[in-house]
């Protein structure tokens, strides 16, 4: 004799049917994600070699490398995060702010740029390199006006700070963002909200 009532049995049956469908769908999603991971990993590697590392000084260029496994893990986590979100909202494609925010979140977490064992002097730039690379990759999705707003603010504040004493200096949004990315827990959702707010200002 079953412990369940008829409505409970009906729910169990429907859940089992959903579970079967979900498993089949998950297989399809995993297959699409694998393709996306390959493509995006190669694109990011290309951008790192062609644009990002090329603009660094000699010391930095010779001291770091892009770790394949860490990069792939970051990109994979990004796509699983995005697909989890798509399952909930029912969106076909997520908007640019989310793509930027989650790219930054996962690249910051996995830190795919690593220091070579043979590296000599470690400059201050190297400590920030993963954060800046994450922003470089995230900026690819953002509106040019938003990127201009962030970068120009940083330039203006740096110029203002140039001949100021330490206690008179101001902090740019870019520097605050770097600080938050390094020391605070900045979730993807919060970053999305930050970029949406910047988009409003940049209109």
């Amino acid at each position: 004799m079953s412990n369940y009532t008829s409505i409970e049995l009906q729910i169990i049956q429907e859940e089992e049917s959903l579970d079967t469908k979900r498993k089949a769908l998950r297989q399809e999603i995993t297959s699409v994600i694998q393709k996306k991971v390959e493509l995006r990993t190669n694109t990011i590697k290309e951008h790192f070699n062609k644009f990002f590392i090329e603009k660094r000084d000699n010391n930095t260029r010779n001291s770091v490398y892009l770790n394949d496994v860490l990069l792939k893990s970051a990109i994979k986590s990004y796509y699983y995060d995005i697909h989890k979100y798509k399952d909930f909202s029912g969106s076909k494609w997520v908007n640019a702010h989310k793509q930027a925010a989650y790219t930054i979140k996962w690249l910051v977490r996995f830190r795919p740029i690593q220091i070579k064992e043979t590296a000599g002097y470690i400059s201050e730039e190297i400590f920030e390199i993963n954060l800046k690379f994450a922003l470089f990759c995230g900026f690819e999705f953002l509106d040019k006006k938003v990127n201009d707003l962030i970068v120009n603010d940083k330039r203006e504040i740096d110029l203002y700070n140039k001949d100021k004493e330490e206690d008179k200096k101001r902090c740019s949004f870019f520097d605050s963002l770097l600080y938050d990315l390094r020391y605070r827990h900045l979730s993807g959702k919060k970053l999305v909200l930050v970029f949406e707010a910047l988009q409003l200002v940049a209109k």
Binding site: F51, W93, N95, F136, F139
Partner: protein, 75 residues
């Protein structure tokens, strides 16, 4: 005398019950439960100015080059 005491107790019980019912119902009406709503995210992705979109590799290459040419003093 007994009848009077019983009536007073009965009236008090009725009054308490009525007050309880009234307060509970008022609370329910004033504080409706709001369920988790995924439609806001869907609207945000698909109908706001930043519509959900898949960037092509070509577009991302162009944007990366633009960023490298214009923002590397900061990035």
């Amino acid at each position: 005398m007994n009848t009077l005491v019983v009536s007073i107790i009965f009236s008090l019980c009725m009054l308490l019950t009525a007050t309880g019912w009234f307060v509970t119902n008022l609370r329910t009406k004033k504080m409706p439960q709001i369920s988790y709503d995924p439609s806001i995210d869907k609207i945000n992705d698909e109908t706001n100015s930043n519509t959900g979109y898949r960037f092509s590799k070509k577009e991302l290459d162009e944007r990366a080059k633009y960023n490298a040419d214009n923002y590397m003093d900061v990035l």
